[in-house]
Symmetry: C2
Subunit: 155 residues, 2 copies
């Protein structure tokens, strides 16, 4: 199968709010007032948890039938721990990102319990966002700078 490239775009709006688009869909990110935001959307690390939870849910539905699971309900609670000193202060040795993510999957299905247990293990391994987070991923970064005004200011 050919490699597929997924795309998105994020544009900084007023304050800390960000308009994020992929295809025809838009989701807003922001921070609460305690972080100087205006709370018009969840923040990016919460969005990351949602991407993981959504991916586990979709993977479950996608494969339930072929794995002989009559899936009735599937729900994921997610938590992620982060030391704010890494982001806010840039403290040496403290990563700005998540130190650990915890998920609790609630599954209700018509199938023997052992088969459901095996199915959940299958879903965890096959989930693309979970795999990306567990393995880590190289990020190739480019940037285009438009520098304005600074040389035209009076001395």
């Amino acid at each position: 199968m050919a490699i597929h490239t997924f795309k998105a775009e994020s544009v900084l709006k007023s304050g800390l709010s960000v308009e994020n688009k992929s295809g025809k869909f838009t989701i807003i990110a922001d921070e609460p007032p305690s972080m100087r935001g205006t709370h018009t959307g969840m923040n990016p690390v919460e969005m990351l948890l949602c991407a993981l939870g959504a991916c586990l849910c979709i993977t479950a539905r996608f494969f339930a039938r072929s794995q002989q699971i009559d899936l009735q309900d599937f729900r994921v609670e997610l938590e992620g721990d982060l030391d704010p000193a890494g982001f806010i202060k840039g403290t040496q040795g403290v990563h700005p990102g998540f130190q650990q993510i915890r998920t609790t999957i609630y599954i209700k299905a018509k199938a023997p319990e052992e088969k459901i247990n095996q199915f959940v293990e299958f879903v965890k391994k096959r989930c693309p966002v979970g795999d990306t987070l567990l393995q880590g991923v190289p990020i190739v970064e480019n940037f285009v700078v438009q520098c304005i005004g600074i040389d035209k200011e009076p001395a």
Copy 2:
């Protein structure tokens, strides 16, 4: 500073659509018809790209003033490559997750170009979602199984 725990919840709805909540905010994930979805939202890997783009934008705004950058515009284009064989077929040796993510940051600011370049490097290093994706993160997974009906079926 104390460790902060962020939370979210994802609930599988009809078909492949998923309702993802964090605090008072909800974002919908789904897949296009080509993946058997009903296209009511972007998919989880696109949501992951949005989380990264949003985090770069918020990090830029959060630190611009203290880094003496008069930020005018900040925008990120994101691409992520994935081999569908890893997810759909479970092909041995093919990861289901992203193999590479590429970002292009467009920044417009009133500051000398060298200072803007340094600022972009600072933003990339300090971004919590970028750090999580680059480093990878341990995921502790629990699950609660509710097994129904299967033993009550007539033999």
